[in-house]
Symmetry: C2
Subunit: 283 residues, 2 copies
């Protein structure tokens, strides 16, 4: 590949650019971002070579869209309007149904591959971009059959060389399941952080008492509010369903405690313990 | 110190024994556990030298009580009945009010120091015991003034040499605050694990979609149900209070989503983001 454009120079786009450097050392990497300071930072960090604008992408071999999902659904059709015949566009967003729908009748639909690499950290912005973020991670690809075979092949090889495992799924199932295994964890962590901060705001030293367990459980509450608002907006119905079930389970647990049913409390935890085996293999 | 007795040879007691080896290489470490197989395992792992029974502890320099808190409140008075004048007994339990109350009028109260080292992993049993678990961790000591100065001095030096930071607190405040920064995290993680397992039980491959964020948030759901049932039992009122507030916050967040108040959703997360600074310094 010769000319690669990254739209969105934060954690996801920036980390992808860093891995691209190793996989495609001869390519020129162009950066596009609504934030001037992000572009300046990405240039100074060196993971893009040049700043660009949307009008430049006609000659692109690859365009990577890594912006909040509620913005991506508006930007993607415009991106497809600007590309050439042999350009492949991939998005990296955490919800897939809306973005697949918005381009379903676009004349350039076959130039687009809908992806969700399950990778990230709780940090954000260009400075959060790290090499190797995608190594060993799962990349979920939706509606692969709607992408031109020659074009999908090009990026699938790239993904594999970056160390990703590829899984295929329809966008409706993707959004439903990801609400459970990713989106709900974020709400759980944010509200845990809120509850503790509310209670402890006047007691500065109290966090001396917090151990690594609390730090681990609340880690995702450091995540970027803009990114996550857009995800919750785009996946609202599924997220509400998971949240309703989560609250119901918490209420059931509370009732067991209130009734001094400690055998029930024990069993609830023991039945969930096999999460150990499930988590084996997740870094 | 010459003779040290560890009652409870799991993660907490076993890890303490491992650090004792380095701090007190000349001491003999005796192990007491209701489970025969734990004793055998601890001997074979080498972190205790000999098996013992409660009647042996008269000559002990130090007795460490590291058993579930609901059992500890019954065992501690009996331990104090068996010790000699110069024995110091420390407990390592995660709740402090009940255990301080149960020995408040005991003739040997001055031989007891109530401790809670905020340390642990999600694993349990003798094989989970690791060297260095307590290094850099906070150890909360309650009612220090009720322990004979000469005896407390002996173990405080030991704790510091193991790398612990000492904090002093009254048992009522301890139990109230620890419910927020530790106990609630465990319920949050267990119920998150339950919600996801419930939903996904028929879809074996779905955990391919789970990333490191889910793994981190749900990590504590691997914890030992016996240990945690006893903690929730002993700290029931405080835990119920935190759980009620947590559920209320989740319901508020749900209402914001239902009302499409995404500015509100954003602000909730942004206001909690400063958990970043709070967590600095927690490993």
């Amino acid at each position: 590949m010769k000319d690669i454009y990254i739209i969105g120079l934060g954690l996801i786009g920036g980390s992808f650019a860093r891995d691209l450097r190793e996989q495609e050392p001869a390519a020129t990497i162009y950066g596009i971002d609504a934030s001037e300071s992000h572009v300046t930072e990405a240039l100074s960090l060196g993971f893009i070579d040049k700043s660009a604008v949307l009008e430049d992408i006609k000659a692109a071999d690859l365009v990577v869209l890594a912006i909040p999902v509620d913005v991506a659904i508006h930007v993607l059709p415009d991106v497809l309007n600007h590309i050439g015949d042999d350009t492949i566009v991939v998005d990296m967003g955490s919800t897939k149904q809306a973005i697949c729908e918005v381009v379903s009748s676009h004349p350039r639909r076959r130039n687009f591959l809908a992806c969700h690499p399950i990778a990230g950290t709780e940090f954000s912005g260009p400075s959060a971009a790290i090499t190797g973020l995608y190594n060993g991670k799962t990349n979920i690809i939706c509606e692969v059959e709607k992408t031109a075979f020659k074009l999908q092949e090009k990026v699938l090889d790239l993904f594999k060389n970056m160390g990703m495992r590829i899984r295929y799924m329809d966008p409706v199932s993707h959004d439903k399941h990801i609400a459970y295994v990713s989106h709900l964890s974020h709400i759980s962590a944010f509200m845990l952080g809120k509850t503790v901060i509310q209670k402890e705001k006047n007691e500065r030293d109290i966090f001396d008492m917090a151990g690594s367990g609390f730090a681990s459980t609340v880690r995702l509450a450091k995540s970027n509010p803009v990114t996550w608002t857009s995800i919750f907006k785009e996946n609202k119905e599924n997220v509400l369903e998971t949240l309703t079930e989560y609250i119901a389970n918490l209420n059931d647990f509370k009732t067991l405690l209130e009734n001094d049913d400690f055998q029930g409390v024990h069993d609830e935890m023991e039945n969930t313990n096999h999460i150990k085996e499930i988590l084996n293999g997740i870094k």
